[in-house]
């Protein structure tokens, strides 16, 4: 449960321009939207007919703690879970929602009622029928507080769930929720067989008992080693963005847990596995533009950027000048470039740059300005210096602690923070103290509102929900939100309750701008997934709702 806000993603994003040749750019000209860079790196597949059959081995970074979509809060678990679990609606790369297990859906004018007409030909892996009652069972189970299901938070705006007819589901909301469709599209609210749900507790352990409706069934799990997936021959209900109908091409797939970067890369380069996820910057050259291999970079839109969240209710961060000095005192661009060797983009907002609601105007609006930062600190009265060269005021050193929970430390992110630390010390005499804490200590700080700076990436969700969960009234600051930034909270809440898309966009942009202007966040880099694979693997892509690699439904292996 602990990995909730620090989803386990992998860094590494290549600039579009590096990947797109002119010819491919022309091919792509008609396709707009986030995440499309991935198409560029796919081997030419224009005249090929997909081949059914065969197997594939996929090496991944993370072994999920729990395989139950409703309970798992590790982003890397969804790469696997998506193979056996479908959702009611599907999120397209351009931000539109497409049919999936719901043939159609409609929102009422006041935004408080949603109707879903469900497909009537869907069957769960255990033979149970999929219908409105099954969906109701899923959602009611998730939102029942006594079950303590993490995905329940996505359904908090719901007042009642009604099975109007066998294949007609209606959701009644307490108030408009602009994030609802995104929540419904989330793998976290993927649909499980009611029989499996009622059987209860042990779904976290995976295996055939974990019955969804997905293109693969969960055939077996060897802890510490692998997951076995088998094609669901009955499957004929792919998401609206899928490239084909009917069952998946692959007969079987094996997901291998290979937590070491170099082991994954070596296993792929020596032909022992077919696809890997998570390629460290120094290994990219082995696969990118290399004969026999392909390298794909996913979008940075669904998850938030890796961001320093500052608790502005605790001294000295209560002073906006101190926060702004922290924001502009280090050369984030250069640090990100040196730590990640140009494989990821520096972030300007905590909303990912490929998200349709990203506020692009923030680019270049803040950042390195040492003179200004020093001036702000002088004005704020931090004019003394101690023996180590740090600024002081009334005998107290200017410093703020970054408490980084150990379970979330990965991808050299601690090294990046150390870089910021060194620059702030040198440039400003600002003591940014990095301390690795336990998950439990973070939980305690969160409950008491005593955390000072929390570095994180947030699980994929609607951007408004991300803003709310990170910097909104019920976000990390909730214990002390009465002392928080009311204007920021207001923008986020207005965005959540907006009834038109324009209104939502306006408030989401305003909230991002407010957060950066007030320096309650210092975005560092936009994380994205990479895939490296043998060149004969076709149909690899990324899921817009997650940023992470799509399931293996459209994937096939060329002879």
């Amino acid at each position: 449960m602990y990995a909730r806000s620090n989803s386990t993603d992998r860094s590494g994003h290549h600039k579009l321009s590096e990947q797109l040749t002119a010819r491919r750019l022309m091919l792509l000209a008609g396709i707009a939207g986030a995440g499309m860079s991935l198409l560029a790196a796919q081997p030419a597949a224009a005249n090929e007919t997909p081949r059914s059959g065969g197997t594939l081995t996929f090496g991944v970074t993370t072994e999920p703690v729990c395989f139950d979509p409703h309970r798992s809060v590790q982003q890397n678990s969804y790469i696997i879970i998506r193979n056996y679990v479908d959702s009611l609606v599907a999120k397209n790369a351009d931000g539109r929602f497409l049919p999936w297990l719901a043939k159609s859906f409609q929102k009422s004018a006041d935004g408080k009622t949603y109707d879903f007409i469900l497909r009537d030909d869907v069957v769960f892996h255990d033979g149970e029928k999929f219908d409105a009652a099954a969906v109701k069972t899923n959602f009611d189970h998730a939102r029942d507080a006594k079950n303590a299901v993490p995905a329940g938070e996505l359904l908090q705006s719901i007042e009642q769930i009604e099975a109007v007819a066998p294949h007609h589901l209606r959701l009644h909301l307490q108030q408009p929720d602009t994030a609802l469709l995104e929540s419904i599209a989330s793998v976290r609210l993927g649909l499980l067989s009611p029989k499996a749900l009622q059987a209860g507790a042990q779904l976290c352990g995976g295996g055939p008992a974990l019955a969804g409706t997905g293109p693969f069934r969960f055939a077996g799990y060897t802890r510490g080693q692998s997951v076995a997936l088998e094609r669901n021959a009955a499957y004929n209900w792919g998401p609206g963005y899928a490239k084909h109908n009917g069952p998946a091409y692959l007969e079987k797939a094996t997901i291998r847990f290979l937590p070491e970067y170099s082991v994954r890369a070596g296993a792929l380069s020596s032909g022992q596995i077919d696809v890997i996820e998570g390629v460290q910057p120094t290994d990219v050259g082995q696969f990118k533009d290399q004969p026999g291999f392909q390298f794909l970079t996913g979008p940075s839109g669904a998850q938030t950027a890796f961001t320093l969240n500052i608790n502005n209710t605790i001294e000295p961060a209560t002073d906006v000048r101190v926060r702004q000095a922290l924001r502009d005192g280090a050369d984030i661009e250069a640090l990100v470039k040196s730590v990640y060797r140009g494989t990821v983009r520096r972030a300007w907002s905590n909303i990912g740059p490929d998200n349709p609601l990203y506020n692009k105007a923030l680019e270049g609006s803040w950042g390195l300005n040492v003179a200004k930062a020093n001036q702000l600190l002088d004005e704020a009265g931090w004019t003394g210096r101690d023996a180590q060269g740090y600024r002081t005021k009334d005998g107290k050193r200017l410093g703020i602690e970054v408490g980084y929970p150990q379970p979330f430390v990965r991808d050299s992110r601690d090294v990046l923070i150390q870089g910021v630390q060194a620059q702030l010390r040198k440039n400003l005499g600002f003591d940014l103290k990095l301390r690795i804490i336990t998950g439990g200590e973070w939980g305690q700080q969160l409950r008491e509102g005593t955390w000072t700076i929390y570095p994180n990436t947030y699980l994929p969700a609607d951007p408004v929900r991300e803003l709310e969960g990170n910097i909104g009234r019920t976000g990390f600051i909730r214990a002390v939100s009465d002392k928080g930034d009311k204007e920021l909270f207001g923008h986020i809440e207005s965005a959540l309750r907006a009834t038109t898309a324009d209104d939502k966009l306006k408030h989401v942009h305003a909230a991002q701008k407010r957060a950066v202007d007030q320096a309650v966040i210092v975005p560092l880099f936009a994380a994205s997934y990479q895939l490296a694979a043998r060149d004969k693997v076709r149909g690899l892509s990324f899921e817009a709702q997650l940023d992470s690699p799509s399931n293996l439904y459209d994937v096939w292996v060329a002879p």
Binding site: M1, Y2, V65, C66, A148, A201, S226, F257, G439
Partner: protein, 312 residues
């Protein structure tokens, strides 16, 4: 017969009884440690989630609303009945989580242990008391094996024998081929240490009067070393063996991670990071029991190696 029975009553039974005490002590220490960590279990399980009644629901589900003392007594009582409880984060019975992981780890540690002993005996018998260059070379290799981190040895072996030569698969636990590289990885540091201790002991033994006597009988050098000197030199190495069992189990955790093998490693690591008390406590207890069993076995081994101990 009588001597065997005497050995059981005199040596083994008391050791096993103490072993239970050790296991209880270890589990109690771990229990205290888990509770001394900052943050409540509800906080960890709730993560960033928050809605009215959530923490209370979690506390009730796991019995965290009771006093620490009654949680402890309940825990020990259940363990005594063979019930290790349910993992907080994996939400499955601890026995189901850990049970299937024991054999892969034991299999790996055992293979590595045997390999380490063979390598160490070979290295020591071949080089003890020989020319300076041979000894220096062996010492250097042993030192490198002892000092190198296990994961680094693993990566080097993978690079050479899996990625480049493709003799062995990179990961998994299917068949002997998948066991070779992990076992060698885990064996090398142990073998290095054992070889050094063994060589020193052999060199001491080689200058003993009994060696001169035996040589005078006209015995060949190899036979002398294997039959007489090695036995003499084995005692200090066996003493070290108890400690090495711990090293092998600890090293197995890292080896399993590098090679993507099933075993207690990943389970333990994740449980510690997420403060999943029921799993951590079960692993601690298991480790304590293994230590007790290993040291009892070594105690018995002394008697066989050194018959003088039987008389005492």
């Amino acid at each position: 017969m009588t001597s065997t029975r005497a050995m059981i009553t005199k040596r083994i039974a008391p050791r096993l009884l103490t072993g239970l005490l050790v296991a209880w002590g270890a589990v109690t220490a771990a229990f205290i440690g888990m509770h001394a960590l900052p943050g409540r279990v509800e906080d960890i399980l709730a993560g960033d989630m928050s809605w009215p009644g959530l923490r209370e629901a979690i506390a009730q589900e796991w019995g965290l609303d009771q006093s620490v003392w009654s949680q402890y007594v309940g825990f020990i009582w259940r363990i005594a009945q063979g019930d290790f409880g349910t993992s907080y984060v994996m939400r499955q019975p601890v026995a189901d989580v850990i049970g299937p992981q024991i054999w892969p780890t034991v299999h790996l540690a055992l293979s590595a242990g045997i390999l380490a002993v063979v390598l160490a005996v070979l290295a020591a018998t071949l080089t003890a008391g020989r020319g300076r260059i041979a000894r220096a070379a062996a010492s250097l290799i042993e030192l490198a094996c002892v000092s190198a981190p296990v994961f680094w040895i693993g990566l080097l072996l993978l690079l050479a024998f899996s990625f480049t030569l493709r003799w062995f698969p990179v990961s998994g636990a299917d068949g002997w081929r998948a066991l070779v590289l992990p076992a060698v990885t885990l064996a090398l540091p142990t073998a290095g240490l054992l070889a050094q201790v063994l060589r020193e002991a052999m060199e001491k033994a080689l200058v003993q009067p009994f060696v001169v006597t035996t040589r005078a009988r006209g015995i060949g050098e190899t036979l002398l070393r294997l039959r007489h000197v090695l036995r003499h030199a084995a005692l200090p190495a066996v003493t070290l063996g108890g400690w090495l069992v711990g090293g092998l189990l600890g090293g197995a955790v890292i080896t399993e991670k590098v090679f993507g093998r099933p075993g207690l490693g990943t389970v333990t690591l994740n449980a510690v990071l997420s403060q999943d008390a029921p799993v951590v406590l079960a692993v601690v207890m298991l480790a304590a029991l293994i230590h007790v069993l290993a040291s009892t076995a070594l105690d018995v081994a002394y008697v066989f190696i050194d018959p003088r101990l039987k008389v005492q």
